[in-house]
């Protein structure tokens, strides 16, 4: 199997997982109401997030085809849905301004005059195309890292909070060691050691961000363990594993959702910093912004690359922040109590 087949498989698994989660959530009144309320509170932000997700999905599914129009370089490369929305080999030789007919430097005729709505970058690639493709990287950073963070944090947090004693001491020690190294420094050190690349960046971000959530889970499990229904289950002889799975984990799910949404924007923003340090993920918006350092010092300046990437990044982060606030307001019992 080629790389793009694996990618398609991962996407299929993720999408079916999301569909299953959605179907299960629909069956419970709590989650259905919560979902409705979030959408009702922030309809615009929710649709923006949905739009970005669709973009990311469209870029994540790719296949090869022998397109007769596509005789150039990318004939034998797998192309995603987003790639297919643009013309094949939609490329110039160098910078060109938005909708320009000629190259920015030298003034040679473009291959596709007037067809690049956001211009082209230093290697002549269409900026709009790159900005749209960046959505996949951003969602990969947020989504994949959360897939690492949430199970890790749940496992360690629950075992520390539920079993207490030695287990708690050990987990708490690991938590205090990891959290006493400032996040960005640990992240950089991890990436330096693990090596560069998308997977490594996500793993490093996962290792640095599970700690905070784990601490919350641990505290919450302490409280849940003492509740009557958990004690009743224990008195009835229900096994520890089953108590955790049936009584503890479902009562932590709201925290999982809140953390997922709140973590997301922080992760994407810190990838931008990593990209600037030269250890980010290829094709991210951070990398596009990073190129602007050079582009803004030219005369006349090249602004479209920076503008496209920052608008795309800003739009996603803003929408996620608003949705995150709404999710927290809806799901957090503390604020619910305040309203009542």
């Amino acid at each position: 199997m080629d790389a793009h087949h694996w990618q398609n498989l991962v996407v299929a698994v993720l999408v079916s997982g999301a569909v299953v989660a959605w179907l299960r959530a629909r069956r419970s009144d709590l989650w259905r109401d919560a979902g409705r309320q979030v959408v009702k509170r922030r309809p615009l932000a929710c649709s923006v997030v949905a739009f970005y997700s669709v973009l990311a999905l469209a870029d994540a599914v790719s296949w090869k085809s022998d397109d007769p129009d596509c005789a150039g370089l990318s004939q034998h490369k797998p192309r995603s849905v987003i790639d297919r929305a643009f013309r094949c080999d939609f490329q110039e030789r160098s910078y060109s301004a938005p909708l320009a007919d000629r190259e920015f430097y030298g003034g040679n005729e473009l291959t596709f005059p007037g067809l690049h709505p956001m211009g082209t970058d230093i290697r002549g690639r269409d900026v709009l195309h790159l900005a749209l493709k960046g959505a996949r990287i951003a969602l990969l950073i947020g989504g994949f890292t959360s897939l690492i963070v949430i199970p890790l944090a749940l496992f360690f947090g629950i075992s520390a909070g539920y079993f207490g004693g030695r287990v708690d001491d050990a987990v708490f020690f690991v938590i205090s060691v990891l959290s006493s190294i400032p996040g960005l420094l640990l992240l950089i050190a991890l990436i330096m050691v693990l090596g560069h690349g998308a997977l490594q960046v996500c793993i490093a971000m996962g290792i640095t961000s599970w700690v905070g959530f784990s601490r919350v889970v641990r505290g919450e499990t302490f409280k849940l363990r003492e509740l009557e229904y958990v004690q009743a289950a224990r008195a009835l002889g229900v096994s520890e594993f089953k108590i955790i799975w049936r009584h503890i984990v479902p009562n932590l799910m709201h925290l999982v959702v809140i953390t997922f949404v709140l973590l997301f924007s922080g992760l994407v923003l810190s990838e931008a910093i990593l990209a600037w340090l030269g250890i980010g993920i290829d094709g991210s918006w951070g990398q596009m912004i990073d190129m602007a350092r050079d582009e803004l010092s030219r005369d006349p300046i090249i602004w479209w690359n920076l503008a496209a990437a920052s608008i795309a990044l800003f739009g996603l982060i803003l929408a996620v922040n608003f949705v995150g606030d709404a999710v927290r307001d809806v799901l957090d019992p503390k604020t619910l109590r305040e309203d009542a």
């Binding site: 050190a189 050691v193 912004i289 350092r293």
Partner: protein, 320 residues
């Protein structure tokens, strides 16, 4: 109290040992000395060159030996870190410790004013917004804060440098001069940008804290006995919100000394932050290791200090 402080410090020391163990695992066991040599010499370096590099930087010893513990990497690692003999940089073989001492000053010049004005402005704005809770001023404040925190720091820096440094030419784009007469001119732009980029997030955080406090009974009591609004917010609410504020402030203490990575390298300030960036770009593992160690040392020290300061801020907290 004294017993608590001693116990807390002992736990802090154990945590430091844990941090060192993690660093040892990452920098010696996971990334082996050979790999470090290859990173800094290039992938295609001949084996002899790699061997020479490893020997020269003292990475040729065994990770641990039972017969002669003093001649092992692990012993060396702990010994050099705990005695603050940081050794030499992997990149240019200069001593790390004097470098750090020299570069700490520009970092502090950048971060100290930023730290204090950031906290003050954040708290003042948040008190203002929280006072008008559930009015349109509050909602506007929150929306502006969320907007401000959704912009990447990179964009603040790039935009600020371009707009103020290049178009308006109010301040130099970058540079540093230790001369007191010139320092403010060079630092004005990084200060302003650093302040602006952090303000949204901190206003939002402090607002949440204050809002939680304003719904408490003592606020109503204070109002009932005729306290003015200014006094309620400034004396009662602020005083009671001290614990979350202190916790948040301590988290940023390591960055006082380490400087701000991005600000320093964008503005050409020769502090510890730009030293980190140089270390990252030059694959300088030994400097990186030292920086991570020092920052976590500062963080652990800061945590102990906060725990103690809780008792000063809030007489309800008793440490024992």
């Amino acid at each position: 109290m004294l017993a608590y402080v001693i116990r807390r410090m002992a736990y802090g020391f154990v945590t430091v040992l844990g941090v060192l163990a993690l660093l040892f695992f990452l920098f010696f066991l996971y990334a082996t000395p050979d790999e470090m040599a290859r990173r800094s010499l290039g992938e295609k370096a001949p084996p002899q060159a790699i061997h020479d590099w490893v020997v020269k930087h003292g990475y040729d010893k065994p990770a641990w030996s039972w017969s002669d513990p003093k001649e092992s990497q692990l012993y060396n690692h702990y010994h050099s870190m705990l005695t603050f003999n940081f050794g030499t940089s992997d990149a240019d073989d200069s001593l790390i410790a004097p470098q750090i001492r020299k570069r700490m000053i520009p970092s502090l010049v950048l971060t100290l004013p930023l730290f204090f004005t950031g906290i003050t402005l954040g708290i003042v704005f948040a008190l203002f917004v929280a006072y008008f809770r559930d009015t349109y001023i509050d909602r506007m404040g929150v929306v502006i804060a969320v907007l401000a925190m959704s912009v990447s720091v990179l964009l603040y820096i790039i935009g600020g440098q371009y707009l103020i440094g290049k178009l308006l030419r109010w301040f130099p784009i970058s540079g540093f001069d230790p001369d007191p007469a010139l320092i403010a001119r060079f630092m004005a732009l990084p200060w302003a940008i650093g302040l602006l980029s952090g303000l949204g997030e901190s206003v939002r955080f402090y607002r949440t804290v204050f809002i939680e406090e304003t719904s408490r009974d003592y606020v109503r009591t204070a109002r009932a006995k005729g306290c003015g609004d200014g006094r309620v917010m400034g004396a009662h609410v602020l005083r009671n919100a001290m614990i979350p504020i202190l916790t948040r402030v301590v988290v940023s203490i390591p960055f006082l000394f380490m400087g701000s990575l991005l600000l320093e390298s964008f503005f050409g300030i020769p502090g510890l932050g730009s030293m980190m960036v140089d270390a990252i770009q030059g694959n300088d593992f030994s400097t990186l290791r030292v920086m991570v160690f020092i920052s976590s040392l500062l963080f652990i020290g800061g945590q102990i200090a906060t725990d103690i300061s809780y008792t000063l801020a809030d007489p309800r907290v008793r440490l024992d």
